[in-house]
């Protein structure tokens, strides 16, 4: 069932809006989310997931799609619906596998592999080993301990927004100021993370 008004845009129009910056983008994200929200029900009926599980699979699907659209990895070879459904289906299957094998924390490395893959085999192996040893819970905690502005700036950065876009959102004067502040925040996070 699609929510009222969610059909106003074609796939291309929606993608164009999602690639834009500013508050319209946020609205478009919700529009994309609402358009295929009935997938949640399908996850429950076709994959026997609970409503919570199916909702999580669906929101993870939207997050993955948003990231791919933002990074221009979505090539529009198929309609958005087909594309989303494929991701959603895989997420449902993953959930079922996790449920039966109790393997909940897999693929941490795969999430950052885009950047890791830029490194040569030998350098990657060194960094990969260090990443595997990282205390992720502590890093999450320390991120939450940062002051709100720092946390926000880093979250936008994590979401792959450019410094120019972050400057608009958080009312910084220029992208350069954002960059300096962002690197300072990162340094602060690193110190917090390292301090016993």
């Amino acid at each position: 069932m699609e929510s009222a008004g969610s059909n106003r845009y074609t796939d291309q129009e929606l993608i164009d809006q999602l690639r834009q910056s500013g508050t319209d983008k946020r609205r478009s994200e919700e529009q994309l989310f609402n358009r295929y929200i009935y997938f949640v029900r399908e996850g429950m009926t076709k994959h026997a997931l609970s409503e919570d599980e199916s909702f999580n699979a669906y929101s993870d699907t939207i997050l993955a799609a948003l990231e791919n659209i933002h990074k221009d990895h979505f090539e529009a070879r198929a309609s958005i619906k087909t594309y989303l459904y494929q991701i959603f289906h895989n997420k449902c299957v993953d959930l079922l596998r996790k449920r039966t094998t109790n393997k909940n924390t897999v693929h941490r490395a795969e999430m950052i592999s885009d950047r890791l893959m830029q490194l040569s085999d030998s350098a990657r192996s060194v960094v990969q080993t260090l990443i595997d040893k990282a205390d992720w819970n502590r890093l999450r905690e320390k991120l939450n301990e940062l002051e709100e502005k720092c946390r926000q700036i880093l979250m936008f950065w994590g979401d792959n927004y450019s410094d120019r876009e972050i400057a608009v959102f958080l009312q910084y004067k220029t992208a350069d100021v954002v960059k300096t502040s962002r690197l300072r925040c990162l340094e602060r996070l690193r110190k917090l993370y390292k301090t016993e």
Partner: protein
């Protein structure tokens, strides 16, 4: 902070060959620097994750809001349709459950569901593993196998190369070679997840020589008993075989 700036420049701009070489050499020779690179990547991931959590919260609010609006009036006809669907469902499940399926069919179904494509990253850069994966996904299994074996020749301990070499051999119907790699994977201890058992069973089920089905059953039973990767398939197949 200077290092963080330098690290960021490497990842966000396309570095020249010389710059990339210097950067990568520093990682392998300077442990402090390598740690900063790992921190940079981990911090980015944790920030991405935090942003995702916030978005999910927002989505949840939207979902809850819409959910209350979306309740549909129930009509009597729905009861009849539901009852008919339940009866048909039971008959269909019974048919699926009790109809005999050959081990080869099960193995081939597994291949279709799990081994059609292997995960390739989106990075434009290439390396030996990614080249192998791309060849595999282009169904050039012979070339993919050669690529993974070449990785193993330079470092025989690369688990992923072992796994992908075995899978490529399986796709080429070179069962003995596939089994060689999967057995080798099975000897690897301390991994979070190891699909060696289920892959060996699939290979034996597909090869289907005298004794293969019995051996596959033993392996599947092990997969179930030891809660290994592929347990859900193993349980299902053991009921059918």
């Amino acid at each position: 902070m200077d290092n963080l700036d330098y690290i960021e420049n490497y990842f966000t701009n396309t570095p020249g060959t010389e710059q990339a070489r210097e950067f990568e050499e520093r990682i392998t020779t300077d442990p402090g620097f390598a740690e900063e690179v790992a921190f940079y990547l981990a911090a980015h991931e944790v920030s991405r994750e935090a942003s995702g959590i916030e978005k999910k919260e927002r989505f949840k609010e939207t979902y809850q809001r819409n959910r209350t609006v979306r309740s549909v009036p129930v009509k009597r006809l729905i009861y009849y349709i539901s009852a008919a669907a339940v009866v048909l469902g039971i008959l269909f499940t019974a048919y699926i459950y009790f109809s005999p399926v050959s081990p080869q069919q099960l193995a081939s179904q597994y291949e279709k569901e799990n081994l059609q494509t292997l995960p390739v990253t989106m990075s434009g850069r290439t390396d030996s593993m990614q080249t192998g994966l791309r060849l595999y996904n282009d169904e050039k299994y012979t070339e993919a196998l050669a690529q993974f074996e070449s990785i193993l020749r330079s470092d025989s301990s690369v688990f992923a190369a072992m796994q992908y070499a075995g899978i490529s051999a399986l796709r080429l119907r070179e069962y003995d070679r596939a089994l060689f790699y999967f057995k080798k994977m099975g000897t690897r201890q301390g991994l979070y997840s190891n699909p060696a058992g289920i892959l060996q069973a699939v290979t034996l089920m597909e090869r289907n020589l005298p004794g293969d089905a019995a051996r596959a059953k033993q392996i599947l039973q092990n997969v179930v008993n030891q809660d290994q990767e592929g347990k859900e398939y193993a349980e299902k197949w053991l009921r059918k075989m």
